[in-house]
């Protein structure tokens, strides 16, 4: 159960980071700063979603997840 509560807290942290990154990319976009920053932020956001929300590691590790 503790693990699940920690997972809920982790979700809050991830969404805060994603929101901050989105704000930064908006600021970069409207100021027309170099596009490379936008690509870096997009890749960073994608990595966070794939790792923490989509749990890609479950594909390679059967012990991950709750279905046992």
């Amino acid at each position: 159960m503790k693990e699940k509560v920690a997972e809920l807290h982790q979700g809050v942290k991830i969404i805060i980071v994603l929101a901050i990154l989105t704000g930064i990319e908006f600021a970069i976009g409207v100021r027309e700063l170099p596009n490379v920053f936008l690509w870096v932020i997009a890749i960073l956001k994608a990595a966070l979603v794939v790792w923490f929300f989509m749990h890609i590691r479950r594909v390679f590790n059967l012990d991950e997840g709750e279905h046992r």
Binding site: K4, I14, G29, A42, V49, F53, H55, E66
Partner: protein, 196 residues
């Protein structure tokens, strides 16, 4: 005694079957994501091939709002999945409902407002073709995601998921996050990269 042993063995075999099925289900779902990514990747490449350093003239604030709405929906979807895995059915239902509402809000924002506010139509050159094709294909995925969520919501109401068995919820959650993932790249490509 022998009946008990046989029952235990059968239970274990059934459990092993389920673990094997889970592994193949997960692999199958990720292979689907991989194949869908090629289609979205092609749309992304098309955008840069046709428009290059230009970007469509779009409502920046509206773009930020719909992006935030979709990100928030992913947050609630993650909570829904965690809630069902800890046996909190009410929490699961509430968070799934919140995800659906935010998904529909995203659709209204893009299809209902952005499409109407855009100063070009789908047939008005490369700009229109790229914008409507990318947002249209993504909106279609959001719509199917909302339908998928409606299915797990109704099944949740009927108490069909347990702590141990909720593959459909995991699949729906992953599909929803995939749709969000696509927008992570489409948002800057359409709204932020390049000059108007």
């Amino acid at each position: 005694m022998s009946t008990e042993t046989s029952s235990l063995a059968s239970h274990q075999t059934h459990g092993m079957d389920y673990v094997y099925r889970m592994a193949t289900n997960r692999l199958g779902l990720w292979l689907f994501f991989a194949s869908d990514s090629f289609m979205f990747g092609a749309l992304l490449v098309t955008r840069f091939y046709l428009l290059g350093g230009r970007r469509p003239h779009l409502e920046q604030v509206l773009g930020l709002i719909v992006t935030s709405v979709l990100l928030a929906s992913s947050f609630f979807m993650n909570r829904a999945e965690v809630q069902i895995s800890r046996g909190d059915r009410k929490g699961f239902l509430a968070n799934t409902l919140a995800t659906m509402v935010l998904g529909i809000s995203f659709l209204i924002g893009v299809v209902g407002f952005e499409w109407r506010l855009a100063p070009f139509g789908p047939g008005d050159g490369a700009e229109g073709a790229v914008f409507f094709m990318m947002t249209g294909m993504h909106a279609f995925h959001v719509l199917t995601g909302v339908l998928f969520l409606a299915v797990i919501f109704l099944n949740g109401l009927k108490n069909r998921y347990s702590v141990e068995r909720h593959w459909a919820v995991e699949a729906a959650a992953n599909y929803w996050h995939f749709v969000d993932l696509v927008w992570v790249f489409f948002y800057p490509a359409l709204y932020l990269i390049g000059t108007v």
